[in-house]
Each structure stands twice: as C-alpha cells, then as structure tokens.
Amino acid sequence: MNTLETWQDDRPEGSDGVDQMGHLVTGELDLSHGVALYLEDITVSFDGFKALNNLNLEINAGELRCIIGPNGAGKTTMMDVITGKTRPDSGKAFFGQSIDLTRLTEPEIAHIGIGRKFQKPTIFEQHTVFENLELAMKTDKRVWKSLMAWLAGDERDRIAETLRLIRLDKEADRQAGLLSHGQKQWLEIGMLLMQEPKLLLLDEPVAGMTDDETMRTAELFVSLAGKHSLVVVEHDMAFVEKLGGLVTVLHEGSVLAEGDLATVQNDQRVIEVYLGR
C-alpha cells in the first residue's frame, strides 16, 4: 500500500484533529482502512426540496474522483456538507475512520486537512499573490500566533516552491485581483496546496481556463493524486477524461452511477438524465 505510506507522513502526533482553541476534537485522522472520506445516507433538504437524498459516497486515500451531474444534482451541497457549511438532516460523514465531520466547524475541518476550491475563484484580491499563499500556509492559525508571526526561511521556500508549481513565480508581488481568471484559479489551487490537505475538494476548477491551462491543470491533479485524495466536480468531459479514475454521477441528490468514464457514458440511465440532453 504505497499510497498509505505517503499519507502517514512526517508530521508529529497530535497535529491533527485540533480545533482553534487547541482542544482535541474527535481523535486522530485514521486512514488505516484506506478510506479518506465516507458519506452514508446523507440527506439535506431546503424547504422540503431534497438537495441530497440518501447520498452514499466513499473516497479512498490517494484517489482522484470526478463527480459529474446536471445542474441541481447536489454537487455543491455535498461539498458544503463535507466542509461543515451545511449540516445534514440525517446521515453520517466521516473523514478517515474516526473524525465526524458533522460535528466540526469550517475552520476546524480545514485544520484537520480538507481543502476546498470554490466554483468562483475566491482569493484575497487586495493582497499580493505571495501574501495569499502565506495566509493559506499550514501553521497555527490562532490570533496570538498571527500577531507574532514572522516568516521563517523554510516557510519562504515552501511558498516559492508552490509559486513555481502554479506558475505564478513571476507574479509573486502582484495584487491578486489583477490576475487573469485562469491565474486566479491556479492561485486558489496553490492556496489549497499550502494548507497541505489530505483531501481536496475542487468545484469546477478549470472553468474559464484556456485549453492549454486546462490540460496543465489535469496534469497537476494527476500528479497530486496518491499523496492527496481529490474530489473534482467538473462539466468539461475532455478534462474528466484526461484525469482518468472513477467517475460518480449524481442525480437529484443521490448517486446514479459509478465507474470509469466510458462505462458511465454508456449507462442508459445516465444518458437519459444527463448526457442525452
């Protein structure tokens, strides 16, 4: 299990599962069964409308999974549940074996290793590219530490490394709001990476990118799989194909089909609800 080894990296014990106040929340991230994310019978309803309806989903450690589905299928709501923005009416959501996501707040979930990229690039437009990455960097994020924070050499190196990876090293001191749309997408991906998350949730990461940028993004994601688990929501089928891996089709809040892209594309029910349109 090569992937599992890279998961249990060199971080000291106790660095996971610690909330903003420094209390232990629900124990360590335990990936011993190879499952990174486990959703069971999740239901979320808004005024009677079931955005998620008994949704079941399992993401393995190091896996790259694509989620597709028509508008209103519940993709974004699912991400809201995983990141603590929305509480499910019923069902279980576990990160690893032991961390109950339904009991944690957004910052706590970010802290234990789930990073999220929004559909619309959400970066700090008034800050420089460098500062955006600095703020995202995995570190103690309590108030007092921020007041006293001073970037160490190795921290600068890590930021520089990420800048090269997302090809923004020449833009480091530019105000982030001045970047092109595609560059903003990359910056947000870079911010996720600075958090050193175990699980990345990416909502339409290549929207608004050029074909060339899209392909480079696909390469980046493939290279990240193994070390991280990735859940990518995307409409661009060429991109999904390039990523490989399993595809899950959501429809009306539950899983309609699962398999590799070719299998899913040939599934009669999928064609009816989604691809056939």
């Binding site: 957004e106 970010a110 959400t122 700090f124 600095e134 703020l135 994020k141 108030v143």
Partner: protein, 374 residues
C-alpha cells in the same frame, strides 16, 4: 530567525513617518507649552487656553477615529456605536475626578453632589475604589473591553454582518444612553459629571495641568498610531483584511474569523475608552449625550472624510471635520448639520478614498505630468 519585537515595531513605520511623528511630538510637548507659558496673551505667538483645549479634544477624537478605522477600514465592520466605548472610558475616569473633588462640592459632603441630592447615604458598590487612580485607569480599559467582548462575542458568533451589525451597535449605544440618563443608575443622570477640581491632586484648570493633559493626549495618539501600524502590517492585519474581502475563504483555509474580529473589536473599544478618559478632564464634563447615536455616526464620518484603510486618514478627517465644526458652531451654528450632511454626500459620491485618496490621486497626476514634461 525570529526578529525581536522592538525591531518589528520600528519597521512598522517608514523613516518619513517616524520623522513626522517626532515633529508632531516636539510641537505638542515643547513648542506649544513654551508658546503658551512664555508669551503674553496679546502676543501673536501666544497659544491660548481655548486653542489648547480644542486641539486636545480633537486629538482625543483622532484617537477614536484611528480605533474606528481599525475595525471599519481594515476589518470591514462598520460600528455605529463607538461613542459608547468612548463614553464608558470617560465615565470611568470621571468617577475618579468626582472623588477628587472631595469636600469642595456645593454640599461640602464626602459623597459627590448628585448623590447627596438623591439623598444617598453611601457610595454604590461600583464606585468602590474609584478614589484610586490605578483602579480607575484599569476600569477605563476594562469596562469598554468587557462590554465589547460580550456584545462582540454574541454578534460575531451569530455571524451578524454589514448593516445589521451597524444597526445593532446604534441600538446598543442608544440603550446605554437611556440607562445613563436615569438618576438611579448612579452616574449623575442627565447632568453627568462636571465641576471637577483636581486630578492627582493638581488643580485641573491650571495651565500646567492642561499642558500635561495635552501632552499625554499627544503621546497617546502617537503611540496608538504606531501600535495600529504594527497591527495592520502583521500577519494578523493581513488576516483581518482577508476577512473583510473574502470571509468564507478565510474560514476554509482554517482561520476562525470570530476570534480575529473579536480581538480587533475589543482593541478598538479599549482605544476609545482611553480617548474618553483623556477627553473628560480636558473638556470638564461627561454626560449621556456622548452616547447619543448621532455622535457615533460622526465618528464614522471623520474616518470616511479622511480616508479609511489608511492610518493617517482618520486623523486628518477628525481634525478637518472638528475644526470646521468649531468654526461653524461659533459663526453660523444653524448651518453646521447641513454642512456635515453635504460633506458626507460629497465624500461618499466623489471621494471614496477620502482626502488621503484625493491627495494620492493629485500626486499621481503631478508625477505623470512631470514625467511627461521631462
């Protein structure tokens, strides 16, 4: 690897700003006292008591404006209740000034006059220790901090934002004003505290005492400016502006905005409390009208006029608006509110960055014209 704090504080301002700050302090601590004490009143160089009181008062306002800018300009949270924290600091220090009157009040009693008038026989519990300067100095900061913490905790935890937050702060200061208007509350009712005689044993109206208070206010303003500059240049400051611009992103990268907002909110309230405590002995009165909603709105106007999100802007704004106010209220008092309203509209529509923004724009134009000519 880690730089000592002193060096970080020194690097909070650039050389020019330190120089300007030094000149300001030299003016306030040396030049003004010399001109006030050494020149006769009819001399052109004489700085009058009126001018010292006025400038001292405006420096207190400027301190409040910087505090307001921290929460509004950098944190994106518009408080329309900052007058409350200012008044709380003022009242806390006013208690001490009332006790310093001793038996020199109209009734010659140990209790403050208004308590004698209400036929109270002893001090209420919250007046205990009010004859101690140290305890009161603590209260000046602790009371605004406590009120701000409790209010802020519930407001920020409930994720109350924007105009809703502003309205609630208005209601808060208004409710406090009504509370302080009552005689039974124990703070002198609608008359508040006045007729102060001494501070730390020195006669409060003497030239020397006034100059010391003036100097202390200047030092407090300068120190606040340096502290605020350090704060907004720290990582804390960057997180704060990040919360202002994209709060959800801040949460999803693992910061809890609650504690960041609460920290700057409490710091801002404490600074207002200090300003209030410096204001009361110079002006000689504190009453509940300081908590009126209009006062708090005026604070926001100073910051908007000067330029929010810059630290010097609010100071300039406080001086410009208040100097205009003191001229208007002497010459054509009936037009003051019209002028204030007009000013607010003009700034909102035409100068979103305030006077500092205007200055920057003019400088850019000048530079580009110079560049074109060369």
């Amino acid at each position: 690897m880690r730089k000592p704090l002193t060096i970080r504080i020194l690097s909070a301002l650039d050389k020019k700003s330190w120089l300007a700050l030094g000149v300001f302090l030299a003016l306030a601590l040396v030049v003004v006292p010399v001109l006030h004490l050494n020149f006769p009143e009819d001399s052109a160089f004489h700085v009058s008591t009126y001018a010292i009181t006025l400038i001292g008062k405006i420096m207190c306002y400027a301190l409040v404006a910087v505090a307001m800018d921290l929460i509004w300009g950098y944190g994106g949270i518009l408080s329309l209740g900052h007058g409350l924290f200012f008044a709380l600091g003022g009242y806390a220090f006013g208690m001490y000034l009332m006790r310093q009157i001793g038996r020199d009040g109209s009734y010659g009693a140990d209790l403050p006059d208004f308590m004698v008038f209400l036929d109270w026989k002893e001090l209420p519990w919250f007046w205990l220790g009010s004859d101690s300067f140290g305890w009161v100095a603590f209260l000046v900061m602790a009371v605004p901090a406590l009120v701000a913490f409790v209010f802020g905790y519930f407001a920020f935890r409930s994720r109350i934002k924007g105009v809703y937050f502003s309205i609630i702060t208005q209601a808060l200061t208004y409710a406090a004003m009504l509370l302080f208007f009552r005689n039974e509350t124990g703070f002198g009712g609608n008359n508040g505290f006045t007729d102060f005689k001494r501070v730390l044993g020195y006669t409060i109206t003497s030239s020397e005492t006034r100059l010391v208070l003036f100097g202390l206010t200047a030092i407090a303003l300068a120190a606040t400016l340096v502290f605020a500059a350090w704060l907004v240049k720290s990582k804390f400051g960057r997180v704060l502006t990040a919360i202002r611009d994209a709060e959800s992103r801040v949460m999803f990268i693992g910061y809890n905005p609650l504690w960041y907002k609460l920290t700057i909110w409490v710091i801002s309230a404490v600074l207002c409390g200090i300003a209030g405590a410096l204001y009361v002995p110079q002006v000689g009165i504190i009453n509940p009208s300081e908590m009126s909603p209009g006062n708090s709105i005026e604070i926001a106007i100073w910051v908007a006029v000067g330029g929010r999100g810059t630290l010097i802007g609010p100071i300039i704004g406080a001086f410009v608006v208040n100097l205009a106010k003191s001229w208007f209220t002497v010459s054509i008092p009936e037009y003051w509110l019209f002028f204030l309203g007009l000013l607010f509209i003009v700034v909102t529509l035409m100068l979103p960055q305030g006077l500092v923004g205007l200055w920057k724009k003019l400088m850019e134009k000048y530079e580009s014209r110079k560049g074109a000519a060369a």
